[in-house]
């Protein structure tokens, strides 16, 4: 018991002080002090519930990806077979569930059709994207393969994450966290944001921009009833546009998609004083826009965003510079949002907000102050009780407690974990529970003395007998903490992190460190009587 070789003492001190030292930058940060550069180091992150900010969970619907793939496959099949030499005539093309099927007018074309569609079916990746079956000799059926669909969803989610990142970066918020979660979810955490609705509005829209010619032959009465001429479709006006509630008939084909943009900014039209969004096309898109406007001077075209018409102006003259202006009832804010969305590209899938938690910075600061005061008062009361009950041994326990708290903070800083509001409760609980180890030891030493053991033997036995229960208790608590970490979510996991780290540091400080101190004291003074 008294035998504490030098290497053991050095090891214990190095570990304890090493971790405790790592807590310095975080403590200085919380207290608002500046440390000299030589002492800088990783700091504990404050959770959004303490620092203020928004946590948003977005979810995509994978079936949407499947539908889109089916649509683009339909287009490709038409294109590929129509452009084959000689042309392969097909009919009765339809899509159902996960399948696309069509009839070859001439069954002898089957091998040529198979050849034409080979690249589409095999895809560009490692797995086959479609399965091709021939039914009744002349009907070809394309079915999406599981792997092909998974890969497409994966790709869509990856680029959706990238789009979300670009949109948030454009807001200029500091240190956003954007991570994929599971197969179809994205977690967005933005510290310090005060208006979550603006962020949600920015993330929720797909922002797919299209320019389509207005069908000049459509009768207004037909359009109002939702009836379109062949080759046209009916598109409603957007809610915030000047013509909300009305419809426009547009030509389905021959338009331009807004994915060929190099820039988009919110601006003001000097003539009308209207808020607008200025866009610039890339060279290819610019050329197509020039062609479209030259061929259709005097005709109306619709600017369509996410399947809603924003406005439908005239081509007054050919637009050759590769730049255009979109107007349609924007406020500065909506125009700015649209510009950001257009700059960052369209989302490949719709994202829905399925969970949102926002804490204002005032409430967060308030929580830190109140939590900190409560923790300090609690600690002082515990320390007073310990010293009053166990005297010198209580002082040792107090020292261990202080080192314990510092070590937890240090370890949290080193593993880059996050302190949340429930985490503060975890600290308080750990302070209470850490004392338990010393209570067990000290009560046991009392008992051993009462049974007439000599001082050294009593202390030795006290530590030995109490350790068993301390280990068992901490391991079971560890099990509970690990399950909370595994199944919990958000701030509650912060509680589990503090609890788990606290269990380990508690055993270390309350058992090993106090034992070293007690041993040092016994060896130096050789007391024949102790007050415990």
């Amino acid at each position: 018991m008294l035998d504490f070789p030098l290497w053991k003492r050095i090891t214990l001190w190095v570990i304890t002080l090493g971790f405790a030292f790592a807590a310095l930058p975080s403590i200085a940060g919380l207290a608002g002090l500046d440390l000299p550069d030589s002492l800088e180091g990783p700091e504990i992150n404050l959770g959004l519930d303490l620092a203020g900010g928004s946590h948003i969970l977005l979810e995509a619907d994978p079936s949407q990806v499947a539908e889109q793939r089916l649509e683009s496959a339909e287009e490709s099949v038409r294109d590929l077979l129509a452009n084959a030499e000689p042309r392969i005539a097909i009919g009765d093309l339809s899509t159902l569930d996960n399948q696309l099927s069509f009839m070859l007018e001439n069954p002898s074309d089957i091998d040529r059709a198979r050849e034409e569609l080979r690249d589409l079916i095999n895809g560009t990746g490692l797995v086959a994207e479609w399965r091709l079956d021939v039914v009744d000799g002349n009907r070809m059926v394309l079915t999406q393969t599981e792997q092909g669909l998974d890969e497409a969803v994966e790709g869509a989610m990856e680029s959706a994450t990238e789009v979300v990142r670009r949109r948030i970066d454009a807001l200029g918020t500091r240190e956003p966290t954007i991570i994929r979660q599971g197969d179809s979810r994205i977690v967005v955490q933005v510290p310090g944001l005060e208006d979550p609705d603006a962020l949600k509005a920015l993330l929720g829209e797909t922002a797919e921009l299209e320019f389509k010619l207005v069908d000049a032959n459509a009768l207004p009465s037909d359009v109002a009833q939702g009836i379109a001429n062949p080759g046209s479709e009916i598109v409603p006006y957007a809610e915030d546009s000047d013509f909300a509630g009305q419809f426009e008939a547009v030509r389905r084909l021959g338009g331009i998609r807004g994915d060929r943009l190099t820039g988009a900014q919110q601006g003001v039209n000097p003539q009308t004083n209207e808020t607008v969004v200025n866009i610039q096309f890339d060279p290819q898109g610019g050329a197509r826009f020039a062609q479209l406007s030259t061929e259709n001077v005097g005709r109306r075209f619709a600017i369509i965003l996410d399947d809603h018409v924003i406005s439908a102006p005239n081509f007054n003259e050919p637009i050759l510079g590769g730049a255009a202006q979109i107007s349609g009832g924007f406020t500065t804010e909506t125009a700015n949002n649209l510009a950001i969305q257009l700059r960052s590209g369209a989302l490949p899938v719709d994202l829905t907000v399925i969970e949102e938690r926002t804490v204002g910075p005032d409430l967060g600061r308030d929580s830190i102050v109140k939590g900190g005061i409560a923790m300090a008062v609690g600690s002082l009361l515990v320390i007073a009780l310990m010293i009053a009950s166990y005297g010198r041994f209580g002082v040792y326990a107090t020292g261990a407690l202080v080192l314990n708290v510092l070590m937890i903070l240090g370890i949290m800083a080193l593993i880059n974990s996050t302190l949340t509001l429930p985490g503060i409760a975890g600290f308080v609980l750990t302070i209470g529970a850490a004392v338990d180890a010393n209570v067990l030891i000290n009560e046991r030493i009392r008992e051993e003395r009462k049974r007439g053991r000599r001082v050294v033997a009593a202390v030795e036995n006290g530590y030995k007998e109490a350790s068993r229960a301390i280990y068992d208790a901490n391991i079971t608590n560890f099990i509970a903490g690990a399950l909370l970490l595994g199944f919990g979510s958000g701030p509650v996991r912060g509680f589990a992190v503090v609890l788990i780290i606290g269990l380990i540091t508690t055993v270390f400080t309350a058992v090993f460190i106090t034992r070293m101190w007690v041993a040092g004291w016994l060896r130096a003074k050789r007391p024949t009587e102790i007050t415990v």
């Binding site: 979810e59 804490v359 929580s367 609980l429 208790a473 909370l484 509650v492």
Partner: protein, 325 residues
């Protein structure tokens, strides 16, 4: 220096004399708790029910206009909103549940949230939005499922550990004590209709951990005494063990309480539910370690032999070979 001793030395309280009445009462309480949970239901917060919770502070008022708010928000057609004071007198939390049938619609909760907030901000001046929580039905369902697994998993894993470290009777005893703690805590939440959120799951797991702490200390002493006093009748031995560890039990419960009380009294309002649950749980857990976990060992037939290594056939042959009987 005279040291503080909260528990007099050498107590000899006959705890187990009253084990039958206590057991009857406890089992009745467990049944009552589950009855309450099943009939009254738990007052699920947004975490588990889905919906919208907004916390606002009316900055230029002394107290929040709760009745007025209730009336105005009632007209939105999302049913009766749950509005209560939150922390300071001019702060409130407003909770609106998802409408029937909106569980499958991921964006529904979010849409409701936006309407509520714009309604408040248009009708009252100087409203500061402190916090906002929106949970869709789908996510709430996942939280419910995961919480049940976390609680069941913790109870089972811990009992298994106790079984391995002690004997099966102790594992069963610990499991029963934990079941008692979880049941009574849930019952309390059902009775007072306190908001039941993810934080409360954390609290219950902390209670499980703490209650077990106590149980293990008592069990450890029982095991030690079973080896030491082979002839002592079990009820007497259990009483001795509980008495021997009584000073520690009281001291630890007290330190935990004085650590938690400041947090309960003037800590952040968002932590009140969590801290309140743990505080009550400390009492439940301490009680269950003495009156649930210990006496059950009598009925499960723990004897001194439980911890004495059994003589194997090989030992027997050795003994015979040495000519002993």
């Amino acid at each position: 220096m005279r040291l503080l001793k909260l528990v007099p030395e050498d107590t000899n309280i006959k705890f187990l004399k009253w084990r039958m009445p206590f057991y009857v009462v406890s089992i009745l309480l467990i049944i009552a708790s589950w009855g309450l949970v099943l009939t009254q239901g738990l007052n699920f917060g947004v975490d588990f029910a889905g919906g919208q919770e907004v916390r606002v502070t009316f900055e230029d008022r002394e107290t929040a206009p709760i009745p007025e708010l209730r009336e105005r928000l009632g007209t939105l057609g999302f049913g009766e909103p749950a509005i209560q004071r939150f922390g300071d007198a001019n702060s409130v939390s407003i909770r609106i549940q998802l409408p029937e049938g909106a569980e499958e619609e991921p964006g529904a909760a979010n849409a409701i949230g936006e309407q509520v907030v714009s309604q408040i901000q248009s009708e009252f001046e100087n409203v500061r939005r402190d916090a906002n929580e929106t949970v869709s039905g789908k996510v709430a369902g996942e939280f419910r499922e995961r919480s049940v697994w976390a609680l069941l998993g913790a109870m089972l894993a811990i009992s298994l550990y106790i079984w391995v470290r002690f004997e099966w009777q102790f594992g069963v005893g610990a499991l029963f004590a934990l079941f008692h703690d979880v049941s009574l805590t849930l019952g309390m939440f059902a009775l007072f209709q306190m908001e039941f959120s993810l934080q409360i799951i954390a609290a219950i797991l902390a209670i499980i951990g703490y209650s077990l702490n106590d149980t293990i200390v008592v069990y450890d002493r029982i095991r030690e005494n079973l080896k030491k006093y082979r002839k002592m009748p079990l009820p007497e031995l259990l009483d001795l063990s509980v008495n021997e560890t009584l000073a520690r039990t009281v001291m630890t419960s007290l330190t935990l309480l004085i650590a938690l009380l400041p947090l309960l009294l003037f800590g952040p309002a968002s932590l009140f539910g969590l801290v309140a649950a743990i505080t009550v749980g400390i009492f439940i857990g301490t009680y269950s370690s003495v009156y649930m976990a210990a006496p059950i060992l009598i009925w499960l037939g723990v004897t001194s032999d439980s911890f004495v290594p059994q003589e194997t056939v090989a030992d027997l042959q050795d003994r015979k070979a040495r000519g002993e009987t």
